[in-house]
């Protein structure tokens, strides 16, 4: 069965998740190549400050990218009047939550890159989870999927129905990733390049 015009927004929004993942990993990861991380630390020895600046830049880049992707994804429907007038307000509210979700994904990607000091080890697992492998892992590793779902699926699918407890759970887990990333990034050891 060929996809219809109404499938396009979901397809674009689903695979658009790669954008915040790549932005977060890129902003931190551009200084993990041999030597350049050392130069960055020499220029700004207050490493936590450097990490926070990079997280902020990630957010500033993810937000407009998310807006562009969401507008681009929904444009065909709006242009073809496929959306009922009455459904616009809840849809927009849900999309605003999606915007926040993208920011969180970008921050998790940045934090994971800082923690592993490797772009690959942030992009691969996050992409695999958010873009398609999650179903496979869910069937094989139910315990793991439970933990991961709390971070990603609740945020993505819960939308405006996310309870306060769930919201704080997601926020706490994102903060833990950021804190672990910042701590690993700030560690002064002999194995840094």
């Amino acid at each position: 069965m060929s996809p219809t015009i109404t499938d396009w927004p979901m397809f674009a929004l689903h695979y658009g998740q790669a954008i915040p993942i790549l932005i977060g990993a890129w902003i931190i990861g551009q200084d993990t190549s041999p030597g350049s991380l050392r130069t960055a630390f020499l220029a700004q020895p207050r490493r936590a400050r450097l990490a926070l600046t990079k997280y902020s830049i990630s957010v500033l880049l993810v937000l407009p990218a998310a807006v562009l992707c969401i507008v681009g994804a929904c444009a065909p429907l709006l242009l073809l009047n496929e959306v009922e007038r009455g459904s616009m307000t809840p849809a927009l509210t849900h999309l605003s939550w999606l915007l926040a979700y993208w920011v969180l994904i970008g921050l998790v990607s940045a934090g994971l890159t800082a923690f592993t000091r490797s772009t690959m080890w942030a992009v691969l697992p996050l992409s695999a989870w958010t873009l398609g492998l999650s179903d496979l892992l869910r069937s094989r590793l139910p315990a793991l999927s439970g933990a991961m779902d709390q971070v990603f699926d609740d945020a993505y699918r819960g939308g405006i129905n996310l309870s306060t407890g769930e919201f704080f759970s997601v926020a706490a887990q994102v903060l833990i990733v950021l804190a672990a990333g910042t701590a690993a990034w700030s560690r002064r050891d002999a194995h840094q390049r």
Partner: protein, 247 residues
């Protein structure tokens, strides 16, 4: 002035730096001299806050490295290679470093000229640079902030004979301008030509320090002085030999 006071660093079961103390004075080239894996790079990394000492303290112009607001204006450091992202051009690399220290972009062209890299070289991606050009770019980055303290880790690596001659003139010239220059090397004859004072190291420990002239007068050459000290000072360290040099 660089002041290193009883700095000790252990990497797992290896004592890489063992209660090292020395000072590097303005207007002098101080050489850290010793075989590979003897803790020279570890000390330099600790001085620049890239590594954490287990005990002891370091002061650069009276403060820790991290306590300087714009550190590259006070301390210029060159470690192995260029320190640049391989995909960036030399100019772009120097420009972002300059901006972090609130230096004008015009300073980039000045330091490229100082290290003998042409404007055309500056527009090339660093991944295409030879080892010698990467060393020159690393030195250019160190000179960017016109700092009073300069730290060079094995700066002669990868340089051809003409490059080594150029480096010798550059380093001695910087010291003559009143700057504090600390360099590490395992090349004794080269260090004898460049340095005013040397700190002889082996097994993470200082086995002697003083002026090059004093060592030469006592033993005939710096090399002979080093091996004379080595014979009396060497003692086994815990674990395998080698410290942070290759880290």
């Amino acid at each position: 002035m660089i002041s290193v006071d009883h700095v000790t660093k252990r990497h797992r079961d290896i004592l890489s730096v063992d209660a090292v103390s020395f000072t590097a004075e303005p207007g002098e080239v101080t050489g850290l001299l010793g075989p590979n894996g003897t803790g020279k790079s570890s000390i330099m990394r600790i001085i620049c806050d890239l590594d954490r000492a287990d005990s002891g303290s370091v002061a650069l112009a009276g403060k820790r490295y991290r306590d300087h607001d714009l550190p590259l204006r006070v301390v210029g450091a060159q470690f192995e290679g260029s320190g640049a992202h391989p995909a960036r051009t030399a100019v772009h690399h120097l420009r972002w470093v300059a901006r972090t220290q609130r230096l004008p972009d015009s300073r980039v062209a000045e330091v490229l000229e100082m290290v003998g890299l042409s404007a055309r070289d500056g527009k090339r991606a660093v991944r295409g640079f030879s080892l010698g050009m990467q060393q020159r770019l690393g030195i250019a980055t160190a000179l960017l902030g016109d700092p009073q303290i300069l730290i060079f880790d094995e700066p002669a690596n990868g340089l051809d004979p003409i490059g080594i001659l150029w480096l010798r003139d550059l380093v001695t010239g910087l010291a003559r301008e009143g700057r504090t220059v600390l360099l590490s090397s395992h090349l004794m004859s080269e260090t004898e030509l460049i340095a005013d004072r040397v700190v002889l190291m082996d097994g993470g420990r200082v086995i002697g320090q003083g002026s090059v002239g004093e060592f030469a007068a006592e033993h005939g050459s710096l090399e002979k002085a080093f091996f004379a000290r080595l014979g009396t000072a060497r003692r086994p360290r815990t674990g395998a030999s080698g410290g942070g040099e290759g880290a």
